[in-house]
């Protein structure tokens, strides 16, 4: 008994010891902060901060422009002067004039902006540094009304739900296909998703590059990718445990649907944001492009589902469609009403992670099921065809 309690004491002692580095670190940090700038002063004077604002959101209302700005730097940043198209304009502030780090204000500019014209908003700090935000075309920002909510929902439905449902209609044909052809279509799914993943990753990095460092280094993209990849891995493990241990059939189709759903959320987000900020003309042609592009997503879900002996129920197919397509509606709402770049980076990172995780699942599936594994001509051809189809239909969507 005594031995055990001694060991227990020792264990507690080591646990306490683990706190020592934390305490010492706190002391060291406190000491450095308390010293003010005297330590840095040994090296030389600090260069001034860039004094650039982060323009988060620009909204156009009749006779009014609203600009949401954030201070991305360490030092305070003061909003001193506003220009619209290189002309000084009066403005009001909804929020503080001097912004501490990461604090935001909304600038309200009474202004008769010209519909569809390009417009440049300049926010000048007290040190005279001007941050210019260029808007490709000024269009009224949709307010949160029944009409706009419905409008975004319809856009999301058209580019997300409908094409996926149409793609799933290939299921009966696929079920009668030869195993080798099925391998080909599974590889096609992997190709589609690889394409989507690369696209989303690129989108995330280009958004990230434009955002001041304080908000999102490349690490923010990694965070999004890792979050969704690991969540999907967790889901995949749950699905395969629920089934017979190997992920295939409807379970794999569900996973593919989740991956595509995350991607479609990002797509809806991009469409909603671009539409709200006049960066994208959502003509019927573009919607048609997105629809054709996304029909292939339905095919991607149908391919693994076709592998099951029994046909999934209509309800299950409906659920798959909803999982893959409905997020586009939520994405469009988010993008249209609340989104900003930082959210966008996370979501596109998540879309990339989800796509890559599903690609990994499909690859594992093909390796297990096809006698030739990944070396099968159907697998190679299907994968390349998937990328090619995405590229070709992507041309339509522009």
């Amino acid at each position: 008994m005594e031995g055990r309690s001694a060991a227990g004491r020792l264990f507690t002692g080591w646990r306490l010891w683990a706190l020592v580095p934390v305490v010492l670190l706190a002391l060291a940090v406190g000491g450095f902060v308390a010293s003010g700038s005297s330590l840095v002063g040994l090296i030389g004077t600090n260069p001034p901060q860039p004094d650039a604002f982060d323009v988060r959101r620009v909204e156009f209302e009749p006779g009014e422009i609203k600009v949401r700005v954030t201070n991305p730097q360490q030092d305070d940043l003061t909003i001193a002067s506003l220009t619209v198209d290189d002309a000084i304009v009066p403005f009001e502030l909804d929020g503080p004039q001097t912004l501490g780090r990461l604090r935001s204000s909304t600038i309200v500019i009474p202004y008769d902006w010209v519909e569809d014209d390009p417009i440049a908003i300049g926010v000048t700090s007290s040190t005279g540094i001007e941050t210019v935000e260029e808007i490709a075309a000024a269009v009224e920002t949709p307010g949160f009304t029944g009409g706009s909510v419905l409008g975004y929902a319809i856009i999301g439905f058209l580019v997300g739900v409908l094409p996926v449902a149409l793609g799933l209609l290939w299921l009966p044909s696929l079920r009668r296909a030869d195993q080798r052809w099925l391998t080909g279509f599974m590889a096609l799914t992997a190709g589609l998703l690889s394409f989507l993943g690369v696209e989303a990753l690129f989108e995330a990095f280009s958004l990230q590059a434009a955002v001041p460092g304080a908000f999102g280094g490349p690490g923010l993209v990694l965070l999004g990718v890792a979050l969704s990849y690991l969540t999907m891995t967790f889901l995949s493990a749950r699905f395969s445990r629920a089934g017979n241990g190997a992920l295939g059939g409807v379970a794999l189709a569900t996973l593919v649907a989740v991956g595509i759903g995350v991607h479609n959320f990002g797509e809806g987000l991009a469409i909603g944001t671009s539409f709200a900020f006049g960066q994208l003309t959502l003509g019927s042609f573009l919607i048609v492009g997105f629809m054709i592009h996304n029909v292939t997503e339905g095919l991607g879900i149908a391919a693994p589902a076709a592998e099951d002996g029994v046909s999934p129920s209509v309800w299950r197919l409906g659920a798959l469609t909803a999982i893959a397509g409905v997020p586009a509606i939520f994405g469009a709402w988010t993008g249209g009403f609340v989104a900003n770049d930082v959210l966008g980076i996370l979501f596109f990172g998540a879309a990339a992670g989800a796509a890559f995780e599903v690609v990994a699942e499909v690859v594992r599936y093909v390796m297990r099921r096809d006698p030739d594994g990944l070396r099968s001509g159907f697998a190679v051809g299907g994968f390349l065809a998937g990328i090619a189809i995405m590229y070709a239909t992507g041309l339509i969507a522009g």
Partner: protein, 332 residues
């Protein structure tokens, strides 16, 4: 939403896109809006924005008489050859508020941009003691006729040192003085310049005399101006119109010390004026708009025919929109 683009990128498109509010600002475009604004202004509760760049609505720094020293020149003295006119100019590094809340790290003569008005009569001996209290080497280069060792080019005055410029004031006209230390562009656009009036032997007719030095400020260091002014503060004379009398002769000494932009201009609303380039000779032009290259200057004479508020501004719309705009308030 976070592309940080330097103004330079805009520069090419600026003439195309700069104009939309000008009509609103300029009063003459939208009479109804102007009327609304005037009424609002008089009642002290004008709606913000749109047509509102006048009086309390104009975003200008300071109080009503802050720039009087720069606007109203010292009186002309009668011709008296050999009389010594002494001035002291001190180069001072100073943060100057050029627009509300916008601070420009300036180099100044005597703490203002432009520097003080230097005035002498032809054949006076001008003696200017220059003290460099700034952190960089500077000089004063006067325009006019003088010996080469008084030209402000060869005798660079280091920080903490002094130099006395002494030469006869001639020829009569409106001239300039500015720092001529390299890099020239930096030393001038930081604020080291001012107006230099040499009165002729035969005095000019009595008049209400004003001085306006046109300039710009590149506050973000991209080689393009972010603010334009006369006498150093954007929209100042929109906030505080210059009161003059109808039929009284108004003599305006106008000089252009804008950097980066090759030209600047002066346009008067509702009336015409006579313009004497460089303030020399007998060649007077009758016009309502004059253009000046960097370093050009001239003398304007105006007798207002009507009372009321008359706008004056650069006829480069972009300069107007960025602060180079004001009003005469003509009264009986």
């Amino acid at each position: 939403m976070a592309k940080f683009t330097r103004r330079r990128l805009l520069a090419g498109a600026a003439p195309l896109v700069a104009a939309p509010v000008l009509g609103k600002l300029a009063f003459d475009g939208d009479a109804e809006a102007a009327q609304r604004t005037l009424q609002g202004h008089e009642h002290g509760h004008a709606a913000m924005g749109h047509a509102a760049m006048i009086g309390g609505q104009a975003p200008a720094v300071g109080g009503p008489n802050d720039l009087d020293e720069l606007l109203y020149p010292p009186a002309a003295l009668p011709h008296q050859p050999g009389r010594v006119r002494e001035y002291t100019l001190r180069a001072i590094d100073k943060e100057i508020e050029i627009a509300p809340g916008v601070f420009f790290p300036a180099w100044t003569y005597n703490g203002t941009i432009p520097g003080p008005v230097i005035r002498a009569t032809e054949d006076d001996i001008l003696r200017v003691r220059f003290v460099n209290a700034g952190s960089h080497p500077h000089s004063i280069h006067f325009h006019g006729i003088h010996p080469s060792n008084m030209d402000g080019v060869f005798e660079v005055v280091r920080s903490g040192e002094e130099f006395v410029y002494e030469f006869p004031a001639r020829p009569a006209g409106l001239h300039l003085y500015h720092c001529h230390t390299t890099p020239l562009k930096k030393h001038i656009h930081k604020g080291l310049y001012g107006a230099f009036i040499v009165d002729p032997k035969e005095p000019r007719p009595p008049a209400r005399e004003l001085v306006m030095v046109m300039n710009g400020y590149d506050t973000d260091g991209d080689g393009g101006n972010n603010f334009y002014t006369v006498n150093g503060r954007s929209f100042y004379y929109a906030k505080y119109p210059i009161t003059v009398r109808r039929s009284e002769k108004v003599r305006l000494y106008l000089a252009n010390l804008t950097e980066f932009d090759l030209i600047n201009s002066f346009h008067l609303h509702g009336d015409f004026f006579r313009y004497q380039p460089t303030g020399t000779g007998d060649n007077w032009e009758y016009t309502d708009t004059v253009m000046q290259c960097q370093g050009q200057r001239g003398v304007l004479e105006i007798e207002f025919a009507n009372t009321g508020r008359f706008m004056f501004h650069a006829h480069q719309s972009e300069f107007t929109d960025l602060g180079w705009m004001g009003f005469f308030n003509v009264v009986d």
